[in-house]
């Protein structure tokens, strides 16, 4: 299935500073599989915060659907 992945702000670093990646994942793939595709390990990554689908924070274990647009959001730790 085809997934569009958007990286906004500093997390673009996780996609070679590009905002968008169009990827293909097997049917039944989850948000975690998407993170694995980009070699993002949430608990070890300096930038990664969470995933967004349809304007809602999604859990990594949720199953993706063909045509999903998934946004990768950062942590915003500074001030």
């Amino acid at each position: 299935m085809k997934i569009k992945v958007q990286f906004n702000g500093p997390v673009r670093q996780l996609n070679n500073w590009k905002n968008v990646a169009n990827i293909e994942l097997p049917d039944g793939a989850t948000g975690q599989d998407l993170l694995d595709y980009f070699k993002i390990v949430p608990k070890q990554n300096r930038l990664y915060g969470f995933l967004i689908r349809d304007g809602k924070k999604m859990k990594e274990e949720e199953v993706l659907n063909d045509g999903d647009v998934i946004k990768v959001n950062g942590k915003s730790a500074g001030g």
């Binding site: 702000g9 500093p10 915003s76």
Partner: protein
């Protein structure tokens, strides 16, 4: 006709004279008076919020002036603590507001006392550890707070209402295992995003105080460089250890002398347990004769061949030029705690 200083807010229908009265009666705590916090404090003081507790452990530095709107070159030259400099400038802007500056490190010993007697806490912090500590303290004491964070050109903000909605840990999960993540000190930050997020936090604070139905229940994430803005629904995590299980591990993790690395500086901060027994003048007297002692209004600097530190009246010390927290603890024990051997 003479109109009052808050006229423009009072004729704004969602606030009105009733809302203005609520603002003037409100007690608000801003933690972190850096880029976010100085803008927030500026906005709230001008809006006439009656009591502002401004908390920051740091001193104004030249590198702050690019984005921290309250401070001047003179503040940096005179090494004035940010909370004190903010009070000085805000008092000239609005003398009706009670400004309560606290030059302290927020830590497990003092955070509950700092936040439990205010109506609202607003986040101007520069790290996740203190935010997670605040998250636990606010859950425990049922205090509402406004999260706001920035890095690079992006930022986020969300209102956190204990017992009603998701908490910070529901949103971000645990801090990365190695405790490192990017901050403004490591990847930079631009002033437009700090101003935008601070303005957003201030607007939410004002809405919360006046009891507006327009208070946001979503996270806002935006980026000033990428022209990106998104409002995001966040659910309560039923397995959240903080708001779900009421486990306050950070609040309960108290060490005798709490040590923290100061991001972007070759320094560690050591904070002793606050039992009210610290004898600031006595320690300074003991330091004299062991090295160079320079006293300012707000702290004392000490330097010799072995140690280089700033000591604050609350007993906190910033130890410069050390490679680890253990090395900082040793210097603290030798020169401040006076534990020989």
């Amino acid at each position: 006709m003479q109109v009052g200083r808050y006229h423009r807010q009072e004729i704004f229908y969602p606030i009105g004279p009733e809302g203005q009265k609520k603002l003037q009666e409100a007690r608000v705590c801003v933690i972190g008076i850096g880029a976010l916090g100085s803008s927030i404090a500026n906005n709230l003081a001008r809006a006439g919020v009656g009591y502002l507790r401004l908390i920051d452990r740091d001193i104004v530095e030249l590198t702050n002036l690019q984005r921290q709107v309250l401070f001047t070159e003179r503040d940096a030259e005179e090494m004035i603590p940010k909370a004190e400099a903010a009070k000085m400038h805000l008092s000239e802007i609005n003398s009706e507001v009670e400004i309560d500056p606290r030059v302290v490190d927020v830590n497990p010993y003092n955070i509950e006392k700092l936040i439990s007697d205010v109506d609202l806490v607003i986040d101007g912090m520069d790290n996740l550890e203190t935010r997670y500590l605040l998250n636990e303290a606010c859950q425990k004491h049922n205090v509402r707070w406004v999260y706001g964070g920035v890095v690079g050109s992006g930022g986020m903000s969300m209102n956190i209402f204990p017992g009603e909605g998701p908490c910070l840990q529901c949103l971000l999960g645990e801090i990365p295992e190695d405790g490192t993540y990017d901050t403004c000190d490591t990847v930079g930050v631009i002033s437009p995003i700090t101003t935008i997020i601070a303005a957003y936090e201030t607007a939410e604070a004002m809405k919360i105080i006046v009891g507006s139905e327009s208070v946001s229940h979503q996270l806002v994430s935006l980026d000033a460089w990428d022209c990106y803005t998104e409002f995001i629904d966040v659910d309560i995590d039923p397995d959240c250890p903080v708001c779900g299980k009421h486990q306050y591990n950070r609040l309960e993790h108290r060490q005798k002398n709490y040590t923290a690395s100061l991001c972007g500086h070759d320094a560690y901060q050591v904070t002793p347990e606050d039992d009210g027994s610290f004898d600031y003048e006595g320690v300074i007297k003991a330091l004299e004769g062991e090295g160079e002692v320079k006293k300012s209004r707000f702290f004392t600097m000490f330097k010799n061949d072995e140690a280089d530190f700033k000591l604050f009246p609350d007993g906190r010390a910033i130890i410069n030029g050390v490679a680890s927290g253990d090395d900082a603890q040793k210097i603290f024990a030798r020169y401040i705690d006076r534990q020989e051997g």
